[in-house]
């Protein structure tokens, strides 16, 4: 039991769930890239893909791992943050922040932004697809594409997405490297590679996800329509 309670094990749980979420983001982004196709092809392809995922037992198992990872990652973060409140004492004059990156010190705040974003994201897409009333496209698949396009009609909704993706980007910029370090990769050569890989990964994920709502808004409702 001591093993599960130790500070290192709690961080290992953060790292493992975090890295699974990192892996999921790649799959999620690859699927979403279909939204960048011309409108009619995008609709057909995206709806077919969504239907394919929702009917697959393998994907179902992955989705339960995903829900667990999200909840465990957030709950463990809360536990760690609260415990660290008890281990620290405030300084009267504090200039320690120049020794580290702002996003590495504010993972909790970035994570909270992401949690709020996820509630909105799940409510508007996940919940609607699973439990809501949703039209069918001509191939008989649930027309999630229409829901997505409709959501990105308002510019402020697009803005929420862009800001959230930047929060995600900074969260990943520290999180990926930190997770690998927590799991114990100590070889200097590999550590340098992980650092570079983590940086490129964070940029790709952030830009990839941020571009989609902007593209959909501009092509469907904006200047490019």
């Amino acid at each position: 039991m001591n093993f599960l309670k130790s500070t290192l094990s709690r961080k290992n749980l953060m790292a493992l769930t975090g890295l699974f979420l990192c892996f999921f983001l790649v799959i999620h982004l690859l699927g979403n890239l279909q939204l960048l196709l011309p409108a009619d092809r995008a609709a057909e392809s995206f709806n077919y893909y969504s239907n394919l995922l929702s009917g697959n037992i393998f994907i179902k198992i992955i989705s339960y791992v995903l829900y667990f990872s999200l909840i465990a990652h957030a709950a463990d973060a809360l536990y760690i943050t609260l415990r660290n409140k008890r281990t620290t004492v405030k300084y009267a004059y504090d200039n320690r922040k120049q020794a580290s990156k702002w996003y590495s010190r504010n993972m909790g705040i970035l994570g909270t932004i992401l949690l709020i974003f996820l509630v909105i994201h799940f409510k508007d897409f996940w919940y609607v697809y699973k439990f809501g009333v949703i039209p069918y496209d001509k191939n008989g698949n649930k027309d999630l594409y229409v829901i997505v396009v409709h959501a990105f009609k308002s510019w402020w909704y697009v803005l929420i997405y862009i800001l959230s993706m930047f929060a995600l980007g900074f969260h990943l910029l520290h999180g990926f490297k930190s997770a690998v370090r927590t799991l114990g990769l100590y070889h200097p050569g590999y550590a340098a590679f992980v650092q570079k890989f983590g940086m490129i990964y964070s940029y790709v994920i952030t830009i990839g996800f941020a571009v989609i709502p902007v593209y959909v808004h501009l092509t469907q409702f904006g200047l490019w329509n």
Partner: protein
Amino acid sequence: MRVHLKIWRQKDAGTAGKLMDYELDNVDNHMSFLEMMDTLNEQLILKGEMPVEFDHDCREGICGTCGMMINGQAHGPVPGLTACQLHMREFEDGATIYVEPFRAAAFPVKRDLKVDRSAFDRIIQAGGFITASTGQPAEANTILITHETAESAFDSAACIGCGACVATCKNSSAALFTSAKIAHLAKIPQGEKEAAKRVLKMVSRMDEEGFGHCSNTEACEVECPQGISVLNIARMNWEYTKANLLKD
């Protein structure tokens, strides 16, 4: 030169402290920071006031006894130095300098700038050693070791246990200190035999002492006067997980 000091004064662990103002005129810019503190204390004693208590010993930057927050940074603004190796020429004439003790729940303030860092001693006592017969020193070449391994272990062993890592960490984590000792001994043949037992005991002691979680901000490495690498922390994490998985 002249400095305006704001120094944390606290009677004992149970009493609340506060920053007090002091003016010091006769500061030579070749003085070390601690010599400047000595000058202040001589002045206070002549006035019949209690001198400011602070930890110090070798004043050569190798013992790890001195340690204070100077202008909100552990050991002051110059990287790679202990407070005793910091000189007054690093400050401007007429500067305001804030001086506070290292702070963490596991490092209670004893008085003024003096801090109880015995939690570190107890972490070392939990396993930061090797078990070997005393007596005649063994023949040096009995255990062969490469130059690179010896150097790498020595890099970890260079930790002087000053506590700047804990004082700088936003979580008051002792990961850098604990990991440096674990990595130092895990790297060399004399230490690796007991590596599993050592890491389990030292990490468990570290947690019991009330240090926080490491969140890899790497501020500890930046502020460490000995430049101990955060890769030691990764090594500790690896040794810890391995020891737990392979435990009998």
